[in-house]
Assembly symmetry: C2
Homo-oligomer: 201 residues x 2
Amino acid sequence: MAAPVAGPEIERLVQLLARLPGLGPRSARRAALHLIKKREELLGPLSEAMRVAHERIVTCSTCGNIDTSDPCTICRDVRRDRSLLVVVETVSDLWALERAGLLRARYHVLGGVLSPLDGVGPDDLNIAGLVERLRGGEVRETIIAVNATVDGQTTAHYIADLIAPLSVKTTRLAHGVPVGGELDYLDEGTLAAALERRTVF
Amino acid sequence: MAAPVAGPEIERLVQLLARLPGLGPRSARRAALHLIKKREELLGPLSEAMRVAHERIVTCSTCGNIDTSDPCTICRDVRRDRSLLVVVETVSDLWALERAGLLRARYHVLGGVLSPLDGVGPDDLNIAGLVERLRGGEVRETIIAVNATVDGQTTAHYIADLIAPLSVKTTRLAHGVPVGGELDYLDEGTLAAALERRTVF
């Protein structure tokens, strides 16, 4: 390995950037050079945005979302339907549903899925918090909007069983052909679900 | 568009990350969530590394490299052969050559290539600085290591003509089949160069 090309500051910036998902060593170098080139328009503001995020972002103690306030913006939003609670795996799933703008509900972020092989049990997820919220009596329907993976569905069944005694209506997302999806590329499970739940024109 | 999911701080972080090369809106969201998850190990250090870079990184007034000192680490390195100067387009090309560790030379970063269509002329590049360095008399050989693109080669010829009167030996990189390259994927120009300059076993 050759001696460092530049001072340790640039090396460090490249190494840290390379740890972002989606960036490898080469793209981290490109990103670092881009940042240094766009010093005032990008490097300065991004550095500042990260400092603010580092200092101020907290996890909402109610729902598990991230925000600069606790409770988060969504939990504090009085225009949302407090009787509808959407259970998601991660904050990025919450963001995906919010971007779609289909619901004015509140959320509960589990922080993952049950995965015995990876040693993730119910106590590792924000499930106790969910039960506590449902016991509050305000929620009328819980939509379990976890991913349609094996672990996701296992988790959904576990939660549905757990909250069954709480007399809250529990629903889950429909399976079927994605809009724009081509049958040729879909797995058998999806095709079976789409056929089974076919609807009349 | 739905209302912002979280406070403006996170939105801003995502928007700035999306301006990095190699990251789009979706990967910028993933990167932001990853940063927030790895708050102490990654977000804090990266924020600090960017702050330091923003404050301290300068362009070397001798060679055009970037560093936290001027002259840069390479220009100050007394173990380098001062008689050999390698002309490159960009700092990332300089880094690529340094990573290969094949030379202990000094560099001259042009900052781009001549491109009449994009309005880039000789005065937009660090060419006057190159001539001045060569007039210093220390350099015995100039390797013009620009990219093998049309604009790169035009620039190489322009520079070679310009510095011809300075009685400095001027060389350029060889064309040929890249190591590990498959003939089927190479263009005709590369194949022609590789055939023409074929060597005896």
